[in-house]
């Protein structure tokens, strides 16, 4: 991956048993399963990725592909009773899955922090914006309310809220959508997190505000040299901000490479589908967007073999075992992982002849 140029600033402090990670964030074979009455939901099934400080990873996929579950899993926000979590998550040399809940709680909101999707529901309706930011600051800092309030006003100012001294005492419902998202970002960044996970940060916003919010995240990232994960179903968003991209399907990663490569030479048929269903304003308007046929798979009963095969237009070509053997990312290269049985030369050829002309 392109992010390997950065080495950790702090040498790994090491954790238990397994070798400590070299990357700032190192997720290894993360599995998050939920037991339900209908069976085991494998929301995330064997996810591995690394992320360095100052870099941005985009996680892309349809609803129900396991994007949000992954981020909540990293933050330790799943209930231990209902979710079965295995694998390793190393953050700055510290393993989180096996750590005590209390230890993870102390990191949460401080070293790692999250921006949620819909700030109207994600902020408490009964408390003022200021009170919520002050609370977030005081969980991790032993300071007076007055000092925390100063910090809250400073943060609101930083994210571009006009008259922060006055707006700090407003309630979330008194803010507009874009303002609320800024306030949410101010709250997430109040403790200068080194890992920031933004879960669909711009979904509820109109396009101009979207661009402002993305700029804001990028500015704050470069200021603190934080690692950022942006979770989205919007390829336009990741095109703008991400260094690397991880495409998820049915709880697994199906393609993993740089943002550049995903747009220039995507190799997985699912990624082709995502790109073909994305509107483009810089090209001539085509007749119609091409949707991916079918629906996302049930995470309880994933299709056999490659879980994308029922929706894949290129399945079973030349007798490749799509329905029986599960492909791994190793079907691609270390720099461009692709979980697809189609031979690499064929993938490139299909993309050039069938897909690229229609994008």
């Amino acid at each position: 991956m392109s992010s390997s140029l950065l080495t950790d600033v702090n040498p790994s402090r090491g954790g238990s048993g397994s070798q400590p990670a070299e990357s700032f964030l190192d997720v290894r074979d993360l599995r998050i399963h939920f037991n339900t009455d209908d069976g085991v939901v494998k929301a995330v099934d064997g996810l591995t990725f690394q992320l360095e400080r100052g870099q941005t990873l985009g996680i892309v996929g349809e609803s129900g592909s396991g994007k949000s579950v992954t981020s909540l899993g990293i933050l330790g926000l799943h209930r231990r009773g209902s979710a079965k979590i295995s694998g390793e998550v190393w953050l700055d040399g510290e393993e989180l899955i096996g750590a005590s809940p209390e230890r993870v709680r102390l990191l949460r909101g401080a070293k790692m922090s999250m921006i949620f999707q819909d700030p109207l529901t994600a902020m408490h309706p009964y408390y003022t914006i200021g009170a919520q930011i002050i609370e977030a600051y005081r969980v991790h800092h032993k300071v007076s309310k007055a000092e925390a309030r100063k910090r809250a006003i400073e943060m609101l100012d930083r994210v571009g809220i006009p008259q922060p001294q006055r707006r700090v005492d407003d309630y979330p419902h008194q803010f507009s959508g874009g303002m609320r998202q800024r306030a949410m970002i101010a709250m997430s960044l109040v403790n200068n997190p080194q890992l920031l996970i933004a879960d669909e940060p711009t979904t509820a916003l109109d396009v101009t505000v979207q661009a402002q919010i993305l700029d804001l995240i990028r500015d704050l990232q470069s200021e603190f040299n934080s690692a950022v994960i942006i979770i989205t179903h919007d390829l336009g968003v990741v095109a703008e901000v991400a260094d690397d991209i991880l495409v998820m399907y049915g709880g697994k990663c199906v393609e993993q490479t740089t943002a550049e490569a995903i747009f220039r030479r995507p190799e997985h048929p699912y990624a082709w589908g995502l790109l073909s269903s994305m509107p483009r304003v810089d090209r001539e308007v085509r007749e119609r967007l091409v949707p991916i046929k079918g629906n996302p798979p049930s995470l309880i009963n994933l299709p056999s073999g490659c879980s994308f095969h029922p929706r894949c237009p290129y399945t079973q070509r030349n007798g490749i075992p799509c329905k029986t053997v599960e492909p791994t990312l190793a079907e691609g290269t270390p720099e461009h992982g692709v979980a697809c049985h189609i031979p690499p030369a064929d993938r490139t050829a299909i993309f050039k002849s069938d897909i690229a002309p229609n994008l």
């Binding site: 102390l106 949460r108 999250m114 529901t121 994600a122 009964y126 609370e135």
Partner: protein, 333 residues
């Protein structure tokens, strides 16, 4: 906020006026429908026709109904004089008239009974609020576990068993069988606080059981719903302790419906808990009203009804104001 409260106050005042009209109309219409003459009911069956006529004039029953209503309202606000020619009886505000049976003023009668009713209602309210909300929270946090089942079974039993059953069982066990509490007359709190609590305790528990069930169920349902809210996830994502997430962020939302029904329940009970007062022979407003009904003592029925509706309207008003305090979004609309 001031505007909001003022608007609610006006609504409350209008409601009370409407209730007074309806109750007064009933007071006037019921005797008519039953072919009875209020004046006759007042003086008694042995009175002569002239005495009945004199009473009719004295009470103003000979005037049209709207004049009577006007006099009644004037009595409530400013007091009124009953003029029977030679003698004038002054009834000072708020004047609900005189009891048909005992010829005593209704208002002091009501005031006499009020401490008993307040004692019963407030004591029970403390118990059911504490028990119901605590039970509901435990139940929600331990969903599906033994504690949840236990609380819900107790709640189901509480809401299903009528006061005249639990009350009698409690009395027979705790008073007569085991002699833990003494029965006997109601005593005032100021005279004998311990005796007061001793007499009321079983009544509090019986009444509280009935209400606690509703509160436990409501708290459980709201808490479960709230725990699924995004802002609870945000609170956890901030790194707050679970105790703070539940005790502060979740409880704040759970409180809203609880405050609503609590205000209404308490308001209703202040108008008299008829069954409980009877079972435990507590001389409260409920008992006064039941006795008045059996004796067809119309002024007391009218007074007690207005008194009770006053409490309910006030409770509504307080709930509305509290609502605005709890939920900032209410203040805008």
């Amino acid at each position: 906020m001031i505007n909001y409260i003022l608007r609610r106050l006006v609504t409350a005042a209008l409601l009370i006026v409407a209730v007074s009209m309806v109750t007064f109309a009933i007071f006037f219409l019921i005797p008519k429908a039953a072919n009875a003459d209020p004046a006759e009911m007042y003086v008694g069956k042995t009175a002569t026709a002239r005495e009945v006529e004199a009473t009719r004039i004295k009470l103003g029953l000979d005037k049209p109904i709207y004049v009577q209503y006007g006099q009644f309202v004037k009595g409530l606000v400013a007091g009124r004089d009953y003029d029977s020619g030679p003698s004038v009886t002054h009834c000072s505000a708020p004047c609900f008239g005189y009891s048909f049976r005992t010829d005593r003023e209704v208002w002091p009668l009501l005031l006499d009974r009020l401490p008993v009713t307040i004692s019963l209602a407030l004591g029970a309210a403390v118990l059911w609020l504490a028990g119901g909300v605590a039970g509901g929270v435990i139940s929600a946090l331990k969903r599906g576990k033994l504690a949840d089942r236990a609380v819900m079974i107790i709640a189901l039993a509480g809401v299903s068993l009528p006061v005249y059953f639990t009350g009698l069982v409690f009395q027979s066990l705790f008073v007569h069988q085991w002699k833990i509490f003494k029965g006997g007359e109601y005593v005032n709190f100021v005279d004998d606080p311990l005796g007061w609590a001793n007499k009321l305790f079983l009544a509090w528990v019986s009444l509280a059981l009935l209400f606690a069930a509703t509160y436990a169920r409501l708290t459980r349902a709201t808490m479960l719903e709230t725990l699924g809210e995004d802002y609870i996830r945000t609170a956890r994502a901030k790194g707050l302790k679970e105790r703070v997430v539940i005790g502060k962020h979740a409880m704040r939302a759970v409180l809203t419906p609880i405050v609503t029904i609590f205000g209404l329940d308490l308001g209703t009970l202040l108008g008299g808990a008829i069954l409980t007062e009877r079972v435990f022979s507590l001389p409260g407003i409920g008992k006064l009203s039941v006795d008045a009904v059996t004796q067809k003592d119309l002024p007391i029925i009218l007074g007690a009804t207005l008194f009770a509706s006053f409490f309910i309207v006030m409770a509504n008003l307080i709930v509305d104001v509290l609502y605005a305090v709890i939920d900032p979004r209410v203040r805008l609309s």
